[in-house]
Subunit: 243 residues, 2 copies
């Protein structure tokens, strides 16, 4: 059999949100490649080789997966959520640059339920109208660019979803994010903290910007900030369609 | 049994992209409510009542579904893609406003694979870094607001995904959108037209902005415009993670 590479989204955490296509792809692979906790979500079986690696080595991991596929293995690179959203798909295509031999491989991206849409569903429909998604990690881009995007997104009155809001090594960025948003959007804007959605550790809370503190977020949290129209109805938060 | 309402995403079209949770929810419903082609995707079975309605009556449809749930029916409102993205979830919460009796109903939003992420997966990873999603229909918002968002999104250097780019009743908006983008982003910016993703009618094409014409899009097309960093590698289009 010839080699292939599939870049697979496992969804936010629970089995009920893994698509049949993702399930079948993982079941047909000889090798699973990914970040340790995501590889751990794939059940062991005879003959399956798992290659789990630590965070922040995405490009090495992508190259390793492409190498395995080029050798004739059937390789599934697994991501949480959707692989095209701040996850492994971009890293795999980046690793292909300058390697024409890898560009002809049989590669398919298998979408998954993204953390942002799973979080939005739990809260109601806060992303029910125009919105943007911003990765708040400044590992790979300057903080100034993040701040510029926050200000322009507020001016455009987008609802916003933030990935990687805060980590132990970057404690300051999210504090600054909240300051910028309070300046640009005012104290009453609604903010949803959605942690570990669809897992046993799930925790969702909605507060006003004036009540939001940096400690409410960690690396397992997706943060959603409403537009100026976003509001509560009963226990729900939603953004109306005319906005 | 007491009534409930589930707002369910059926994914972009193929069965392999419907989650087990969505599948089980639809299978457990007494009533299916939705736009005609989406209701048609649910198989008939004895006892199942289907309520299919035409486009542009979202609020009436939502009220009808809430009424049925309040009467004790188990109701699934079905959307294509994800129900929280320019779809029925926002309409249901909007219909709840001013109706405290409906706000206490047992309601759950069941996420689905969105058209934008399914489209991105087919093309590679064009939404692999910060991005926004804009509904180009001016049925419910003024065109000036759409144009303002397009210009700010370009200034923020977001990749962009457009829903409802063009319909028979709104032929001009998408032509104007392409003009605004050419002004703001230049001729070489990559544009992906993704029509009917994951169905037998699927068609994906990638062109430069200078080559894009309004006729390339219709109501079944998701349009993705890259950021300044978005590029081709082999047959793929992706946005690098450092952008």
């Amino acid at each position: 059999m010839s080699g292939w590479l599939r870049i697979v989204g496992l969804g936010p955490g629970c089995d009920g949100l893994i698509t049949p296509e993702a399930q079948a792809t993982v079941a047909g692979a000889t090798d699973i490649v990914g970040y340790i906790p995501y590889v751990a979500r794939v059940p062991d079986r005879p003959g399956l080789v798992k290659h789990a690696s630590d965070n922040r080595v995405e490009l090495d991991r992508a190259s390793h997966a492409l190498d395995l596929a080029a050798e004739g293995r059937q390789v599934a690179v697994v991501s949480s959520g959707d692989p095209g959203v701040f996850a492994m798909a971009a890293a795999v295509f980046e690793a292909m640059e300058g390697r024409p031999d890898w560009q002809g491989l049989d590669v398919v991206v298998v979408p998954g339920i993204s953390a942002m849409f799973a979080a939005a569903a739990r809260a109601g429909a806060p992303l029910g109208h125009d919105f943007c998604a911003i990765n708040l990690s400044d590992n790979l881009k300057p903080w100034d660019l993040i701040e510029k995007r926050l200000r322009l997104a507020a001016e455009a009155d987008f609802a916003m979803a933030f990935y990687n809001p805060r980590s132990a090594s970057r404690p300051e960025g999210f504090r600054r994010t909240l300051e910028v948003l309070r300046e640009a959007c005012g104290d009453d804007r609604l903010v949803i903290f959605a942690r570990a959605v669809s897992t046993p550790a799930e925790h969702i809370s909605t507060v006003k910007l004036s009540e939001a503190t940096p400690e409410m977020a960690d690396m397992r949290t997706v943060v959603i900030v409403g537009s100026s129209r976003t509001r509560r109805v009963g226990p729900w938060v939603y953004t109306p369609r005319m906005a």
